[in-house]
């Protein structure tokens, strides 16, 4: 089986190499044979998908058949591992996950090459760039991190097993989502570099790139938040984001990708920021590769990182090559990227996008800086310092608040210039309504539970929390007002109800209103983050009948016991949950010991409501008394984060739906002024 996989990988490398070289020759040559050569390059690229898919399936089958002659299967699987996790073995280790990278890239390349008729010349350029990236990853899996390396000596009876932290249902979908995001940015990068290399006329390439970027950005968003949910549900520390180096690595391309999705509108609508957009895409792809490098090189320590290996040198070389190629084509063809328009007013949609990009890039820089500062510190001072949550929170929270403010104001500004009357008309009621929300949160009694009864003057976290909710409310009200005002205009002309009119409105400009829905999702998530200022926790040894109180909850230990199955043995407690003295639930926090890997894992249990999560962790047993130690966390508003992610997904899908036909209004009819933003 190992031979089939190894051969498939070598064959895929040869095909990718051919697709790259023949593709370049076909683009450079001007004779009649160039087209046929280009077609063979395209078909070779299509075939790469089938061959890499074969290699990946060989690894999956080897996992299911417990073929421990393959070292990778021995290290990441065992006989009693449940089926879905055996499938997840594919991306559980260094070598397999690189193969998975190559598989997803070949799948994206397959779709791109099959749809080449959209613009054969541009797609041919993009295909060459993708083939080059594919060659790099196939070189890695063939020569640096071979997933089909065989075991030496006698064959082991059983494998070492999968890391217990990965034995959780979300880990079957979190890495694929994250990788679809990371790998997907290769496609916009390929189009951007191709368009620059060929001096592509017009902005069509950016239309094509934007859709790919949105899809990729959507996957990365899902991947990041699935990771956050996994951390919350599995790691058992009561939080969902720890500013870990690997988490940061996924956030950086997301931030630059978000900046691109906004600034690209400047190029489409006004022919501005062409150079900026080009470099944003280059940076986003570069950060995706850099993130992969961070995860795998051992440069930074992380709970998520793969083992330290020499693979980092390959990535450094590849990053240098990417930079050199991008700089070369930019210097050669930069005259093609001149802006077409001038900025007419500082109070305009254009300037709001400029500041939006500035803040997103600043956030990206601070994350990058904080992630790499320990390395820099070790290099300069000889000792590594820790850059943890206190640094990232302190620096990034003000940036996030400014971004929220821009999210509220930006869509209300018109292209070119906006009058003061227009701002006044569109902004007064949302501002008043959000202030009312903030005042209500301050004057309500704290006995209602967080976030009521806020005391922003008591500490900085409470102040930031209140500001977050205030600005989130502002965004929500401005978005709602945009929908209502636009819906009313449609309603007057069509006679439809307001809700139907708003749906009609959204369908006529899916990108704009889909974007608003995404913004709504973001503010719901931000409100969820704001709840962290009011987190409480308590730890106690709990014997039969013992009680612990936290917030309005009382926990009573009814029992604690043990269990055993072929994969793991476990200890767990039965905890009755009472709220205001009335029983509402029973939770079973658990600790597992995985036999194959000889590792322990906690399985927290969560009772989640819109207002707060009660989160119980089985910390361990007191060795003297044999009684369990239970840690209870009370985390307000966490469920808002997961709801917000769903809203963002809905918004992204809505933005990808093609627009409906425009509404035809008779020339004599007087058309009411549409919302001030008027345009994306």
């Amino acid at each position: 089986m190992a031979q089939i996989g190894s051969f498939a990988l070598l064959f895929a490398l040869a095909l990718s190499g051919y697709s790259f070289l023949a593709g370049i020759v076909a683009l450079v040559r001007k004779d009649e044979g160039a087209e046929r050569l280009g077609e063979t390059a395209r078909r070779a690229g299509v075939a790469v998908f089938a061959v890499v898919f074969l290699a990946a399936m060989v690894l999956v089958v080897a996992a299911f058949e417990n073929d421990f002659s393959i070292a990778y299967i021995f290290h990441h699987s065992n006989r009693d591992l449940p089926g879905p996790y055996k499938f997840a073995t594919l991306w559980s280790g260094q070598e397999g996950s690189l193969l998975f990278w190559a598989l997803l890239l070949s799948a994206y390349g397959f779709v791109l090459r099959v749809r080449y008729r959209t613009d054969p010349r541009l797609f041919a350029y993009a295909s060459v760039v993708i083939a080059a990236v594919q060659v790099f990853f196939l070189l890695l899996v063939n020569f640096a991190a071979h997933p089909f390396a065989v075991m030496q000596g006698s064959l082991p009876e059983d494998g070492s097993g999968l890391n217990p932290l990965l034995q959780y249902p979300e880990m079957v979908i979190h890495p694929p989502m994250l990788y679809l995001g990371y790998v997907g940015f290769t496609v916009p990068f390929a189009f951007a570099l191709g368009a620059l290399a060929m001096k592509y006329p017009g902005e069509k390439w950016i239309h094509i790139t934007r859709r790919w970027t949105m899809v990729t950005w959507g996957f990365l968003t899902c991947g990041i938040f699935l990771g956050a949910h996994w951390a919350y549900a599995v790691l058992g520390w009561g939080g969902y984001w720890g500013w870990d180096a690997v988490e940061n690595a996924s956030l950086m391309p997301w931030l630059t990708g978000t900046a691109f999705l906004h600034s690209v509108m400047m190029q489409e609508k006004r022919g501005m920021l062409k150079t900026w957009n080009m470099w944003l895409i280059f940076a986003t792809f570069g950060l995706s590769i850099f993130g992969t490098f961070l995860t795998r090189s051992g440069v930074v320590s992380s709970v998520h990182a793969f083992a330290q290996s020499s693979i980092g040198d390959w990535f450094v070389g590849f990053l240098a090559l990417i930079l050199a190629v991008c700089v070369y084509f930019y210097v050669k063809n930069r005259s093609h990227l001149r802006s077409e328009h001038k900025l007419e007013s500082l109070v305009s949609r254009e300037s709001s996008f400029l500041f939006n990009n500035l803040l997103l890039l600043l956030a990206c820089f601070t994350v990058l800086w904080g992630t790499l500062f320990p390395v820099l510190s070790e290099w300069v001072q000889g000792n590594k310092v820790t850059v943890g949550p206190p640094f990232f929170n302190r620096v990034n929270i003000p940036v996030a608040l400014l971004l929220l403010l821009l999210t509220a104001v930006g869509p209300l500004l018109a292209w070119r210039r906006t009058s003061v009357e227009s701002i006044h008309r569109n902004f007064t009621w949302p501002a008043v309504a959000s202030l009312v929300v903030a005042i209500l949160l301050v004057i309500t009694p704290s006995s209602w539970g967080a976030p009521f009864g806020m005391r922003p003057w008591q500490d900085a976290s409470a102040f930031y929390s209140l500001m977050t909710i205030l600005l989130s409310a502002l965004v929500a009200f401005t978005v709602a007002m945009e929908f209502v005002r636009g819906g009313r205009v449609i309603s007057r002309h069509t006679g439809q109800g307001l809700l139907g009119s708003m749906i009609h409105l959204a369908h006529r400009n899916t990108r704009r209103y889909g974007g608003y829905i995404v913004h709504l999702g973001v503010v719901v998530i931000m409100i969820g983050f704001a709840g962290a200022a009011f987190n409480q926790d308590k730890e106690q040894e709990m014997g039969f009948g013992d009680q612990m109180s936290i917030g309005r909850y009382t926990l009573i230990c009814r029992s604690f016991t043990q269990d055993d199955n072929p994969n793991y043995s476990s200890e767990w407690a039965v905890m009755d949950v009472l709220k205001d003295g009335k029983q509402i639930d029973t939770l079973y926090p658990e600790r597992r010991f995985y036999k194959a890997s000889q590792q322990t894992s906690t399985i927290p249990r969560v009772r989640s409501t819109a207002q707060e999560d009660l989160y119980l962790v089985y910390e361990g047993q007191n060795q003297d008394t044999g009684r369990p130690i239970i840690k209870a966390h009370l985390n307000p508003l966490v469920s808002w984060i997961w709801i917000g992610v769903w809203i963002m997904i809905v918004g992204t899908i809505a933005a990808l739906i093609p627009n409906a036909a425009p509404l035809r209004v008779a020339a004599t009819a007087r058309v009411e002024p549409v919302p001030a933003g008027a345009g994306d």
Binding site: V303, S351, L358, Q381, K384, R394, W415, W457
Partner: protein, 167 residues
């Protein structure tokens, strides 16, 4: 000192507001210094030394040989009445500089805190420069009286107008 809320006397009203502000600050600070909030604050400024990369008060490793001991040491230091800086310094001496969850604001480590602001400043200067260039760019206007627009050119203008004003 006369405390007078008479609205006709702006200086006194201003002073009253200053006093009110002072009262709020004092009340806020009174609540901030108790032992449990100091334990929580300092515990979140320290890392667990077991190598798990987690904040001391969030380390939940089963059988972690460090976190319980470190929490005990922190509590003991607070019981002794040590000041925050002294507590942190004693942890650095015992466990090394990586025990602090964020860089200090002295020496080379200060750079960690300064750079985000430098980046913000550089970004603002960059944006101002771009805006200046864009605003100073001349509008391309025809030398003579504009001729009526027809056909493809009209269509192009329509397209631009649609892009900039579409619903």
């Amino acid at each position: 000192m006369q405390f007078n809320m008479n609205r006709s006397n702006p200086i006194t009203a201003k002073r009253a507001m200053q006093m009110a502000f002072l009262v709020v600050v004092v009340v806020a600070l009174v609540g901030a210094g108790d032992q449990s909030s100091r334990f929580n604050d300092l515990g979140h400024r320290l890392m667990c030394a077991c190598g798990c990369n987690q904040i001391l008060l969030e380390c939940n490793h089963v059988g972690c040989s460090y976190s319980d001991r470190m929490r005990g040491e922190l509590m003991a230091a607070l019981d002794r009445g040590d000041a925050d800086d002294l507590v942190l310094q004693s942890f650095v001496q015992k466990y090394g500089p990586t025990v602090l969850a964020a860089p200090t604001k002295s020496g080379f480590n200060r750079l960690a805190w300064i750079m985000p602001y430098v980046a913000l400043l550089a970004g603002l200067i960059g944006v101002s420069y771009v805006v200046r260039i864009w605003r100073s760019r001349p509008l391309v206007l025809p030398a003579d009286t504009p001729a009526p627009v027809h056909g493809a050119e009209l269509e192009r203008f329509r397209d631009v107008a649609r892009k900039e004003t579409e619903l």
